[in-house]
């Protein structure tokens, strides 16, 4: 891992107008599948953020006399098992899925990276303790760990956020620690130690900026895992509880429409798939990461 020059210095030298050209340059370096991934990610981020504003009907309103209705001009994605508008429910569900998973992945990655930096710059025994603890947690399969946590604490939205974050922190820690330990051996970090810099400075100013890109790619993966975990839990009825519904809950509540191949069940399922595949395609196309394994759920 060669230390890269922090992007900040570059942008200080050149005027701000180059930011747009750098984005263009970055886009042109992206493969076709990467661009498709980026488009899907942006689409779902926008829908997740603006969902309720775009929804044609109220989330809980019974608007159609027909249940499991097909596509129509009034109801683009038909109606669900109670005659509610699927598109409106999908947009609201996307908000829960994307919002919860984003917050949760952010928490997991930040905690993982923070602990990894702590383990790297602190005395050896701190590293031993944290690593041993994280190795223990990683030995509990993530869905099993989440199930135990849900059984013990319940599944309110805040708890789900914390549970998903706790489940994927050990993995984030493992990746970040490997990066940080490598960087810690670099000459420029050793020089910083020799200068007598404090641990906090070395962690945040010397190591952190140089591991931010792989950590961001890992953040994307955590996001995918958490989307899959949360929608899986909701599908089992153990995740987001009614009247709230994320995409997994929508699949669950409309399961009786499976026999008719109802849009009400296919639309949310495809929504989850396009979101997670989009993020995976984007990460897969990122430069430097190349075609590294996108796994670990």
């Amino acid at each position: 891992m060669t230390p890269t020059v922090p992007l900040r210095e570059e942008s200080m030298v050149k005027p701000a107008s180059t930011a747009a050209s750098r984005v263009r340059h970055w886009l042109s370096g992206l493969s076709t599948s990467g661009r498709v991934g980026l488009a899907l990610v942006v689409l779902w981020l926008v829908l997740g953020a603006a969902g309720p504003l775009l929804a044609p009907y109220d989330v809980g309103a019974f608007v159609s006399p027909e249940v499991f209705d097909g596509m129509s001009a009034q109801h683009w994605l038909g109606s669900d098992y109670l005659g509610r508008d699927v598109l409106s429910r999908l947009l609201s569900g996307a908000q829960y899925t994307v919002g919860l998973a984003l917050a949760s992945a952010l928490l997991a990655s930040a905690t993982g990276a923070g602990l990894a930096l702590t383990a790297t710059v602190c005395p050896r025994w701190v590293d031993e303790v944290i690593s041993r603890f994280m190795d223990t947690l990683i030995s509990i399969p993530s869905k099993v760990f989440a199930l135990v946590l849900v059984a013990a604490f319940g599944s309110s939205l805040t708890l789900l956020l914390l549970i998903a974050a706790a489940t994927y922190t050990p993995g984030a820690f493992r990746i970040a620690r490997a990066l940080a330990i490598n960087l810690n051996q670099m000459d420029y970090v050793q020089v910083a130690y020799a200068r007598g810099e404090g641990r906090l400075y070395i962690a945040t100013a010397e190591i952190m900026p140089n591991m931010i890109h792989p950590v961001l790619a890992d953040f994307g993966l955590r996001f995918v895992f958490i989307v899959l975990l949360l929608s899986g839990l909701s599908f089992l009825g153990l995740g987001v509880q009614p009247p709230n519904a994320d995409l997994g809950s929508l699949v669950r509540e409309n399961i009786s429409g499976l026999g008719d191949g109802a849009l009400a069940i296919l639309a949310p399922a495809m929504a989850i798939a396009t979101l997670t595949i989009g993020v995976n395609l984007l990460i897969d196309a990122l430069p430097g990461r190349g075609r590294r394994i996108t796994g670990g759920r």
């Binding site: 190795d135 509990i140 399969p141 199930l147 013990a152 153990l238 499976l258 997670t276």
Partner: protein
């Protein structure tokens, strides 16, 4: 392998010591895992006594039952007793089934093992084939297509694969039953039909993982100097991959297999529930819904043991397959 006999023996001894150390480390991890599982489930606001008697119970009755169940003891004593019971194969009494947890699990465990075994039997050859093909034809159209396919399969939730499978094979084509019935004395054809969809769903995610890791492991070897040498000698690429690279990539591939098979554990949670399959994972989901803590703890520990066994198997294979690892 041009080892002299004494050197060989010392190599085996070194490998044995290494394996023993891994075993010890796995046992320590298991102990810590049990502590974590117990701590989380003992943090409950209510306890089993209140849960059993319901809200209308008098405080005296709850206290009496709590005493009877040993819940009034300090947490560390309860942990030691629980762990002792777990080791002896008696993890307590299931609150909902009102049966010993061991008995409940004994009825389910063989089913889960059958499902996992069948899935592995389907997934491993398929994943090896996909992984090797895409490594062999790397950076061609075939590789890119396979990469997109496995990437998509990794990212898709199990319940989507399962619901689409049900839609296609049970509803539209009417080939397969949508729930898996397990009972004594059903014929082979019946059993295969019942297992087809759960195995297919579980294999989907596992194959994708395994194929990607196999490809990465083989390609890692392909960048080594000895491969260049073999190619310069004029050997065909497929011969280089099959004869030269594969033996060297066995350890990482087996490692990848073990890792991917551990995803099967998580996938089983969803798949067993969807197909109403009477295994450990659906038992655990039921335990969560009914807050049956003794049962939940036992199921969680079984999954952790399975995970650690897979990791241990991967480590042992890696040690045995690579003579250089023995020296470390």
């Amino acid at each position: 392998m041009a080892h002299g006999s004494p050197r060989n023996r010392s190599g085996i001894a070194a490998a044995g010591r290494l394996i023993l150390r891994r075993l010890g480390s796995a046992l320590l991890t298991l102990l810590l895992v049990s502590l974590v599982v117990f701590t989380i489930s003992a943090l409950l606001p209510g306890d089993a006594a209140e849960e059993t008697l319901g809200q209308s119970a008098t405080p005296e009755a709850v206290a009496a039952l709590r005493h009877q169940m040993g819940l009034d003891q300090p947490a560390h004593l309860r942990y030691v007793r629980w762990l002792g019971g777990m080791i002896k194969g008696d993890p307590g009494q299931s609150l909902v089934a009102n049966m010993p947890v061991g008995q409940v699990i004994a009825g389910r465990l063989p089913n889960s093992l059958t499902l996992a075994g069948l899935t592995a039997a389907v997934a491993i050859p398929l994943a090896l084939a996909i992984g090797l093909l895409s490594a062999l034809y790397r950076d061609t159209g075939l590789d890119r297509a396979l990469n997109l396919m496995t990437l998509g399969m990794v990212a898709v939730p199990e319940f989507l694969v399962a619901t689409i499978a049900v839609l296609v094979f049970s509803v539209t084509l009417r080939w397969l039953p949508s729930i898996t019935v397990v009972r004594e004395g059903i014929g082979w054809a019946e059993m295969l039909r019942g297992y087809a969809m759960p195995v297919m769903t579980l294999a989907c995610v596992t194959v994708a993982q395994m194929a990607r890791m196999t490809r990465a492991a083989v390609i890692d070897q392909l960048s080594r100097p000895y491969v260049e040498m073999a190619l310069l000698k004029g050997l065909s690429p497929s011969r280089v991959v099959l004869v030269h690279v594969l033996p060297n990539a066995v350890a990482p591939i087996v490692n990848a297999m073990a890792l991917s098979l551990s995803y099967l554990l998580g996938g089983a949670v969803i798949v067993e529930t969807i197909f109403n399959y009477p295994g450990i994972a659906s038992l655990m989901v039921n335990a969560v819904t009914s807050r049956d803590m003794p049962l939940l703890q036992a199921c969680a520990m079984i999954f952790c043991v399975a995970y650690l066994l897979l990791m241990l198997a991967a480590d042992v294979c890696a040690i045995l397959a690579n003579p250089r690892l023995r020296g470390q």
